[in-house]
Amino acid sequence: VLFVKFFTMNSIFIFELKAELNSDKKEKKKEAVKKVIASMTVGKDVSALFPDVVNCMQTDNLELKKLVYLYLMNYAKSQPDMAIMAVNTFVKDCEDPNPLIRALAVRTMGCIRVDKITEYLCEPLRKCLKDEDPYVRKTAAVCVAKLHDINAQLVEDQGFLDTLKDLISDSNPMVVANAVAALSEIAESHPNSNLLDLNPQTINKLLTALNECTEWGQIFILDCLANYTPRDDRESQSICERVTPRLSHANSAVVLSAVKVLMKFMEMLPKDLDYYGTLLKKLAPPLVTLLSAEPELQYVALRNINLIVQRRPEILKHEMKVFFVKYNDPIYVKLEKLDIMIRLASQANIAQVLAELKEYATEVDVDFVRKAVRAIGRCAIKVEQSAERCVSTLLDLIQTKVNYVVQEAIVVIKDIFRKYPNKYESVIATLCENLDSLDEPEARAAMIWIVGEYAERIDNADELLESFLEGFHDESTQVQLQLLTGIVKLFLKKPTETQELVQQVLSLATQDSDNPDLRDRGYIYWRLLSTDPVAAKEVVLAEKPLISEETDLIEPTLLEELICHIGTLASVYHKPPSAFVEGSRGVQHKRLPGSAESVESPEPASAAVPEASPSIIPSQGDLLGDLLNLDLTPPTSTAAPPPTSGLQMGAMDLLGGGLDSLVRPLGGDLGGNPMGAGFGAPASAMPPSFSAPASGGLDDLFDLGGGVGMPTGAYTPPKTMWLPAMKGKGLEISGTFARRSGVIQMEMTLTNKAMSVMTDFAIQFNRNSFGLAPAGPLQVLTPLSPNQSIEVSLPLNTLGPIMKMDPLNNLQVAVKNNIDVFYFSCQYPMSVLFSEDGKMESKVFLVTWKDIPNDNETQCQIKDCHLNSDAASNKLQGSNVFTIAKRTVEGQDMLYQSLKLTNGIWVLAELKVQTGSPVFTVSLKCRAPEVSQAVFQSYEAILRN
C-alpha cells in the first residue's frame, strides 16, 4: 500500500519531503526516507535531498540507518562534496559496540565510490579487518576488493593485500571464503602478480575451509583451487580425493566448480592409475543429476557437458538417454540436448537416437526441427552402419514437403554423398523433384553441387543448371560459386551439348561480377579449360578426400581453455573471456596442466602432425641481454604446445565441393605439398615445417594465372614462417627481406590466430653481423583483431651494433605485443646488402682481382639454372650485382662481376656459363672470405628464381 502510494505520485514535492525528513518524530523521519528510496527506485531524481537524508544518518535505529546508507550508495557519486559529510558517521559506526552496525558501516563505506573519501576510510577498514567478530571480518574482506576497484594503488600502499592474505588462515571459514573471493578478483586485474600465492600449505587451508563454509564460499574456494597447478600427480590425486565429496552437493554451482577442478587435475594423473578410472566413473552421475535442476541451470549444465563430452567422451558415453528431449523442455534446453546427443551417438545407441530424432523432426519449433534433420545426417556420417536408415529417414522427411525440412535434408544429403560415394545416388531423382521449393542459399548450393557432381547420371542436368543461371546475379555468392563449379563439371562430363552454357557462366563470373572470389575462380577455370582440357578434367573432377566424422568441434586449444572455465559464462558462450570481458580482466588464457606421461593428444590425427623443431630459438643468454628496450618479462615456460589438430583440414573439405577439388591436385603437383592445403585451409593447421614448400607451390600457382610473375628487379625470396602461432601465443609471423630503391625492407605478415585483439607491437633486433637495425618503429597502427592478417614493411638501416653471427646472415629478432615478447631468428639473403654503387671500374677490378690472394678465392657450382649468360647478367643486375666485362672462350661465357656490401666490403666474381649446360660455376674473391658462402647462396637464389 505504501509503495503504491509513493509510486503513483505524479511529482514528488521535494519541499514536503524535506520538512518530513527534518521532523523530530522518528517514525515520520523513517517514513520520509522510505518515500525517498521509493522515488529513487523508479528513477526519480531525489538527489536534492542529500543533506537532509544524511542528517538522518546519526541514529541508533538500525532500519533507518540502513535506508540512509542505501540512499548514500546511490547518490554519493553524483554529489562527492556532500558525501564527505557522511565520513564521520562511518568512522564512528565502525567502532560501534554492535558488530552488526560495524559490519554495516564497513560494507556501505566500500560502496560509496567517491575517490575523495576513500582515504578517510582506510583506518576504519584496517580496524575492521582485524575485528574480533568474524561477521565484521568477512565483510571487511569484501570491502578490500571494493576499495581496490576504486583505487588500486591505495590498497597496495596501505598493505591491505597482505592483511587479506593473512585472512586465508582465519579460523572462520566464511572469512576465508570471502578473502579468497576478494583476492581472486584482485589477482585477475594483476595477471602477473603473485597475489594468490597458492602453495601446498594454503591449498590445505582452503580444502579444510571447503568442508565448513557456506555453499557460496565453497564455490569461491573451488574456483580458486582450479587456478592451482599441483606439483605432481600425487598432490593432484590427494586434492581430487578431497574435492569429490562436493559432487553430491545440492547446489549445482558447487558441483560444476568441483567438476572443473577434477577435470583439470585429472590431466596430471597417469591413465593406468586405478584412481583415474574411479574418478572418471564418479563424474558421470552428478553431471546427469544436473539435468534435473531448473531449466536455466540445465542450460548452463548442458553447455558445459558439451565441452566435457568433447574433451573426455568416455565419461558420458553410456548416458545417452538422459539427453533425450522432453516435450515441455524450453527450446534452449532442447537445442543443447540435441547437440550432445549427436556427440554421443555411436553404433551401440544409434537405433534409439534415430528413433528420437525422427520424432523431433515433426515438432513445431523451426530451429529445433532443422537441427534434428541435420542431426540425422550427421549420424549417417558418424555411424556407418546407420547410414542407410538415416538416408531413408531423410527421404521420408523430404516427402513431407515441409519447405525447411526439405532444404535441411538436402544440405545433409550432400555430405552423405561425399562420405559414401557411389552408394546412395539413387535418391537423386527424389531430390531433383524438390528443386523449386529451395529458397535458402545453403540448400540451393547443396543441390547445385549434387547436380554438378552427378551430372552424368542426371539426364537433364544442363536444363536444371541453366534454370539456376537465369537469376545468376540475384543469387548469393555461395550459390554463384557453386553454380560456376557445377557447370564446369558438367561441361567436362558432357562437353558437346554444354559449351554454350559454360561460356555463359564464365562470362557472367568474370565480366559481369564484381565479386573478386567469383571472378578469380572464373578466370582460373577459364585458363584451365583453354590451356589443357585434359588437365582441367584431372583437376576439377579429381577424387575428393573423405569428409571427417565429427563436425562443429571446438578447436583444441580453445577447448582446453574453456575446460578451465567450467561453470562460468565463458563455458556458456563457448568463447574465451577475452571475447566478452572488457579491460584487463580475464585476458589471461588458462591452460590445462600437462599430464604425467608427456602431453596427451586427444585426437589421434594430431599425433601425425610433426612438431616444430625448436632449433630457431637462439641461446637465450646473450639474446636476452641485448634486447633491452622491450619490457622483459621472461618467456613463460609454458607446457609443451598443444598439438595442432589435423581435423581442421577435414573441416575445409566441407566448404565447397568444387573449390577444393580444384585446388588439391594443383597444390600437390606443383608445390609438392602433401597436405594439399590450398587456399581454403585455415592456416592455423599448417605445421610450420611445411611452410617453405607450400609457399613455393603457391607462387607457382599464381604464376600460372597470367604469366605475370615477379617484377624484374631485386630478388626477394618468398616469405617463410618465422614465428609459428603455437610459439607466438597466437601471433604468427612470416616474412622476407627485400631491397627496394636502396632501402632494406623487412616485410612481414602478422597474423592473429588468437582469440583476442593484439595491440602494442614493437620490434627489436639483436646485434648482428652487418649492424642491421630497424630504421623506425614497427608500424602496426590498428589493433590486430582475431583472424586478421596485416602486411608490414619495416625499413632497416645498417647502423646498429655489430656482432659476428653464425651463420653470418643470421638475425635474432624480438617482437613484442600486448600479450608477451616473442623471440625468433631468421636469415636474410645477402643480396639485400648489395648496394647500388657496387659497380667497379674495370681497371680497378683487374687490379683488385690480382691483388687479392688466391687463398681467398672460393668456387662453387650452381646447378639446374636454365639461363643464358645475358639473362643471368640481367637478373643479377637487378639485385645490384654488376657485370663489368664479358668474354666468350670456347662456347663458354665468362662474366666478371662486382658487388659491394653495405659495410663497404667488395666482392669480385667470375661467372662461367657453358652454353647449353645448366651448370654455372662461380668464383668469388674477397678480402673477407667469410662472406663468400652467404654471397654464393644469394647467387644461387637469384639465378634459380
Binding site: M174, S252, V300, T568
Partner: protein, 461 residues
C-alpha cells in the same frame, strides 16, 4: 561477479534495482518508461540503443519486450550479460560484465526467490511493492559487492525482521554474528520445543516414455526427501535408507536388517545430492548421512534411480484410422501395485488431431471430456485400487483437409498420485541425538510418508 540486480514486472517496469558495480551503468534516473514495444532490432541497433540508455532498459527491450520466445536464459547485449529467471509474471535479472560463475548466478537467483517467499509469500508485483524496503535490506545482506553471502532464511530471520531489532544484548548480537558466519549457518542455537517431532516425506516423481508396443524407452524416478523438524537444541541426526551399497556392505557384516532386505528390497541409487547441512565427506567415505538439521521445513536430499522402477500404471493405446474422416481410439489403463493401496487424482490425456470436429467418448470409470481448446480428451478418475483395469473408447470425427502434413500423434500422457515410492526406497531409520538436552531418540515423534507422483509419464501411440 554480479554487477547489479533488477526485478521487473511484466510490463518491464523496474520494481527493484540494486547496482553493485559501476561497470554496468547507473540505473535510469528517469521515471519515463518505454512502454512501446521495440521489435528485436538488428545487432547494430541494439548496440546503439545500449550506448544511449543503460543496462536496465536494454534488458527490457531485448528480453521482456522481445516478441519471440526466450531463446536463452543468458543474453549478452553489448558486452553485458543478463541472467534472468521468471516467477509468475515477475522477472529477476542479474547483470554482469565479467566472466562470472554462471551456475552460481542462477543458483543465487533461485535462492533469492526462496528467501523472498519465506519472508512475504508469493512473489508477485504487489508483494514486492509492499516489501521493497525489506528486499533492499535482504539484498544488502545476501549479496555483497556481487558476492553471495549466507542466504539461509533461518539465519537471516534472526536479524532481518520487519519489526526492527530492539533491545539486543551483547550476547544476542554476537550470537547472531557467529551464527551467520558459523559452520552451522542454517540453524540458530537455543531452539526449544515442548514436543520433539519430525516429519519425513519421501516425494517421488516417476517418469516414463513407453513405445506403443509396451517397451520401456526410458524410465527414471527423481525423488526428494523433505523433512520438517521441530527439535530442541542442536540435534545430531543420522538418516538411513535401503541403499544397495550400504546394505551390501552391512550384509557382509551380518546385519540382520540388511540380511532380510538383501536382494530385491534394496535399491540402487544412481546419484544423490544433499542439503548443505549434510556432511559430504562422511557420505563420500562411509556413505552415511549425518547432519544437524535446519529448523522447520527443508529438502534433505534429492536422488535419482533408473533400475527396478515400479511403474504404477500401464497404458495400452489403440488408434485406428477409419477412412480419412474418422479415428477410433481405445485406451486401457492397468494399475500395477498392491490391491490394498489406492491411487488418486488419475488423469489420462489423449491428444486429438487439430481438425477434430466432434468426439464421442465412452468410459467405464470416471469422467471423460473432449477439450477442444487443448486438443485432447481428458479422462479423470478420482481413485483406483491396485491390480485393476479400466478403459475408454472414443470416436473422433475429423474435418476433411487437404493438409498433406501428417498428424504428429503426440504421446498419451498420464497424471496420478500413489501412496508408495515407485523407486522402492524405504526409510530405515532417522536417529536423533542431542547430548546437551535431556531427550533421547525414543522421545522424538517421527512421521514418515511416501508419495509417488507422475512426472512425465508418456506412452506413444
Amino acid at each position: 561477479m554480479i554487477g547489479g540486480l533488477f526485478i521487473y514486472n511484466h510490463k518491464g517496469e523496474v520494481l527493484i534495482s540494486r547496482v553493485y558495480r559501476d561497470d554496468i551503468g547507473y540505473v535510469a534516473q528517469r521515471s519515463f518508461m518505454v512502454t512501446s514495444c521495440i521489435k528485436p532490432a538488428t545487432l547494430f541497433n541494439v548496440n546503439l540503443f545500449v550506448c544511449r540508455r543503460n543496462a536496465v532498459d536494454a534488458f527490457r527491450v531485448n528480453v521482456i519486450h522481445a516478441r519471440q520466445q526466450v531463446r536463452s536464459p543468458v543474453t549478452n547485449i553489448a558486452r553485458t550479460s543478463f541472467f534472468h529467471v521468471k516467477r509468475s509474471n515477475i522477472w529477476l535479472a542479474a547483470v554482469t560484465k565479467q566472466n562470472v560463475n554462471a551456475a552460481m548466478v542462477f543458483e543465487f537467483l533461485y535462492k533469492m526467490c526462496d528467501v523472498m517467499t519465506a519472508y512475504f509469500g508469493k512473489i508477485s508485483e504487489e508483494n514486492i511493492k509492499n516489501n521493497f524496503v525489506l528486499i533492499y535490506e535482504l539484498l544488502d545482506e545476501i549479496l555483497d559487492f556481487g558476492y553471495p553471502q549466507n542466504s539461509e532464511t533461518g539465519a537471516l530471520k534472526t536479524f532481518i525482521t520487519q519489526q526492527g531489532i530492539k533491545g539486543q544484548t551483547k550476547e544476542e548480537q554476537s550470537q547472531i554474528t557467529s551464527q551467520v558466519t558459523g559452520q552451522i549457518g542454517w540453524r540458530r542455537e537455543g531452539i526449544k520445543y515442548r514436543r520433539n517431532e519430525l516429519f519425513l516425506d519421501v516425494l517421488e516423481s516417476v517418469n516414463l516414455l513407453m513405445s506403443p508396443q509396451g517397451q520401456v524407452l526410458s524410465a527414471h524416478v527423481s525423488g526428494r526427501v523433505v523433512m520438517k523438524s521441530y527439535l530442541s537444541g542442536m540435534p545430531e541426526c543420522k538418516f538411513g535408507m535401503n541403499d544397495k551399497i550400504v546394505i551390501d556392505k552391512q550384509g557382509k557384516g551380518g546385519d540382520l536388517y540388511a540380511f532380510c532386505c538383501s536382494g530385491k528390497q534394496s535399491i540402487a541409487i544412481d546419484d544423490c545430492t544433499f542439503h548443505q547441512c549434510v556432511r559430504l565427506s562422511k557420505f563420500d567415505s562411509e556413505r552415511s548421512i549425518s547432519f544437524i538439521p535446519p529448523d522447520g521445513e527443508y529438502e534433505l536430499m534429492r536422488y535419482r534411480t533408473t533400475k527396478d522402477i515400479i511403474l504404477p500404471f500401464r497404458v495400452i493405446p489403440l488408434v485406428r484410422e477409419v477412412g480419412r474422416t474418422k479415428l477410433e481410439v481405445k485406451v486401457v489403463i492397468k494399475s500395477n501395485f498392491k490391491p490394498s493401496l489406492l491411487a488418486q487424482k488419475i488423469e489420462v490425456r489423449i491428444p486429438t488431431p487439430l481438425n477434430t470436429s466432434g468426439v464421442q467418448v465412452i468410459c467405464m470409470k470416471g469422467k471423460a471430456k473432449y477439450k477442444a481448446s487443448e486438443n485432447a480428451i481428458v479422462w479423470k478418475i478420482k481413485r483406483m485400487a491396485g491390480m485393476k483395469e479400466s478403459q475408454i473408447s472414443a470416436e473422433i470425427e475429423l474435418l476433411p483437409t487437404n493438409d498433406k502434413k501428417k498428424w504428429a500423434r503426440p504421446p498419451i500422457s498420464m497424471n496420478f498420485e500413489v501412496p508408495f515410492a515407485p523407486s522402492g526406497l524405504k526409510v530405515r531409520y532417522l536417529k536423533v541425538f542431542e547430548s546437551k538436552l535431556n531427550y533421547s531418540d525414543h522421545d522424538v515423534i517421527k512421521w514418515v510418508r511416501y508419495i509417488g507422483r507422475s512426472g512425465i509419464y508418456e506412452t506413444r501411440c
